[in-house]
Amino acid sequence: MLVQKKATPFLLGYRLYVVAFFIFLAAPLISAGAFAFNDSLFPALPWQGFTLDWFFGDTEPKLGMFHDRRLLQGLYYSFVIAIFVSALSVFVGTTNAFLFVRGEFPGKNFFYIMMVVPLVIPGVILGISILVLASDTANYVENRFDLELEFLRPGILLVVVGQFSFIATITSLVITARLKKFDETMEEAAFNLGASRARVLRTITLPFLRPAMIAAGIVAFLVSFENFNTTLFLVGSEAPLTITMYDRMAKVGSTPVLNAVSFFLMVGSGLLALLSILIQRDRSGQ
């Protein structure tokens, strides 16, 4: 039966399937994480014994991630980029939510679809198209006015902008969904009780949206942190962690330090995810 919980063989098989699926989900992460503790120069079998050197080692060849300045720098840039991207995306997501839930204007449906579109454009193409536009503009300005617009050249700003271009869709959808559930009479009640427009926004509407904004921010942060396709084309000399790791893997050679970073990221993201769940729970309490 499709809804019942009777202990039939069918249900047993179903459960096994679900377990197998989660093993499938966890397998590559476990393998990527586990080799961080392999006392070997290569992230491969055979198992050479347990070590924490790939985290804390401070000498070559087992330079741990916490002593590897390039990785740390990548981590730092990833962090900076993700912070900006999520702040910007949450802001625009919030204004979009108000625009599409509260606003009445011609072509609303069309614009709504436009808002969703960036999510389905391949990341590579988003990256390239923004790169092309930015460099064409910069070249034009340079040739024409002999002015170097450095911010249009690959670098942190373009990466932020490129990631923002599709992450804003995600945050918009999340926050819009929440705002749709908002009972507008709540705002009227606040007006009625004597609050000014600004106060209503500050004390009623935004607090109601807050869980969605935080959740959207966390999602934006994670997606930015792990983005590769779009970033690849827009990155300048300040490479975020994924790019650093890719360069390391493709151009230098991987050591278990990459596994250590992976492990570190898993723990970090796991904690963030847990945080967002806690916020979610707080929300369901209301």
Binding site: A189, N192, G194, R199
Partner: protein, 373 residues
């Protein structure tokens, strides 16, 4: 500025158009201080629109609204001293009870100590002294209701507006809250304007009720007036249950008259006001089920029954509903007449029995036929 300053709320020819829809049409009324006023009408008749104009969420297309004698047309909603209890209450889920009640006071810049005092005071008055620290979702439906009222009352409004506040509650709770609301209004002695489409709510609680239909007020009066002396057929049919006959006036004077129904039965009525029905005009006769006595054909007490109107029939079915039981009688002309009966379980009427239906002409309400079905 105004003729009578003892009215808390006055509406003068207020109307509201949404594009071509005339939601409210030239409504005028005034409510004396401290009274409980209800607006009763079917869904979509414009009740909420009228209330939102009073609260300031909509601008009237015409007319004037005065509170304590002063026109409030230019006053934004957050500056009107009219508070509102919303249908779904609109309590703020992100604040606890204390903060919900304190919200309006904070908006007015009241000091913290004063807020504390006032909030606890109002919680005492609604008999919920201990819930200040509760979250909203920890309250029962009836408690929420009272908090929503307290949140308004703590601001000492001139008028409290309530838009179907019991609509979301379940049956038993609704019954209980009806009486409670009335008590709270006594408590605070503030003018309540209460919107509902449930006649029993309006009748039980109000000092005065306005019956609204298609954007207009059909009648304003005390519950008894409306029930016993409706001035229009709409009021007669909307307030309370009725049996209805169409007919033609045979004879009439200022005290009443006689009608022949479409089925050919004679029926007498007393005139409701001073109006004299024109002979030969088409009319509708309304008779409430509780005023029709059903007596067994064989029984000898027919003489007792003071009633100029009489009809014979057969019991079709009994709708047993405890104290509100009803009998459906099929008359000779085939129509079904409803009449209230008390079924005690002993010697009750049974389907198939021959009965007489008897009622006084005083209880026959007669209205000119408006041409509507």
């Amino acid at each position: 500025m105004t003729d009578n300053p003892s009215y808390d709320l006055e509406c003068l020819d207020v109307s509201k158009n949404f594009g071509s829809i005339r939601a409210v049409k030239d409504v005028s009324f005034d409510i004396p201080s401290g009274s409980f006023f209800s607006i009763l009408g079917p869904s979509g008749c414009g009740k909420t629109t009228l209330m939102r104009m009073i609260a300031g969420f909509e601008d009237p297309s015409g007319g004037d609204i005065r509170i304590k004698g002063k026109s409030v047309l230019g006053t934004p909603p957050n500056k009107r001293n009219v508070k509102m209890v919303f249908q779904h209450l609109a309590l703020f889920p992100m604040m606890n009870v204390y903060e919900n009640i304190a919200y309006g006071l904070r908006c007015n810049g009241v000091g913290n100590a004063e807020i504390k005092r006032k909030v606890h005071d109002v919680l005492e008055r609604i008999a919920l002294p201990d819930v200040a620290e509760r979250e909203i979702h920890q309250l029962s439906g009836g408690q929420k209701q009272r908090i929503a009222i307290a949140r308004c009352m703590v601001l000492d409004p001139d008028v409290l507006l309530l838009d179907e506040p019991l609509g979301a509650l379940d049956l038993k709770l609704r019954e209980a809250m009806k009486i409670e609301l009335k008590l709270l209004q006594h408590q605070f002695n503030t003018t309540f304007v209460y919107i509902t489409h449930d006649q029993s709510e309006a009748l039980v609680m109000s000092d005065n009720v306005a019956i609204m239909n298609q954007g207009e007020f059909e009648q304003i009066g005390t519950p008894q007036e409306l029930y016993h002396h409706p001035s229009t057929a709409f009021v007669a049919s909307f307030v309370g249950d009725s049996n209805r006959w169409s007919g033609v006036v045979k004879s009439s004077d200022s005290t009443g008259g006689k009608v022949e129904t479409e089925q050919g039965l004679p029926m007498s009525f007393s005139s409701a006001g001073e109006k004299t029905m024109q002979e030969g005009s088409r009319v509708n006769i309304f008779v409430r089920p509780e005023f029709i006595r059903t007596v067994r054909a064989g029984g000898g007490d027919l003489q007792d029954a003071a009633g100029e109107n009489r009809m014979d029939g057969i019991v079709d079915s009994l709708l047993f509903n405890g104290a509100n039981s009803r009998v459906l009688v099929r008359t000779g002309s085939g129509e079904l007449v409803e009449s209230d009966v008390t079924l005690t379980g002993e010697n009750d009427l049974k389907p198939g029995e021959d009965v007489h239906l008897v009622w006084s002409s005083k209880q026959s309400m007669c209205f000119a036929d408006q041409g509507k079905a």
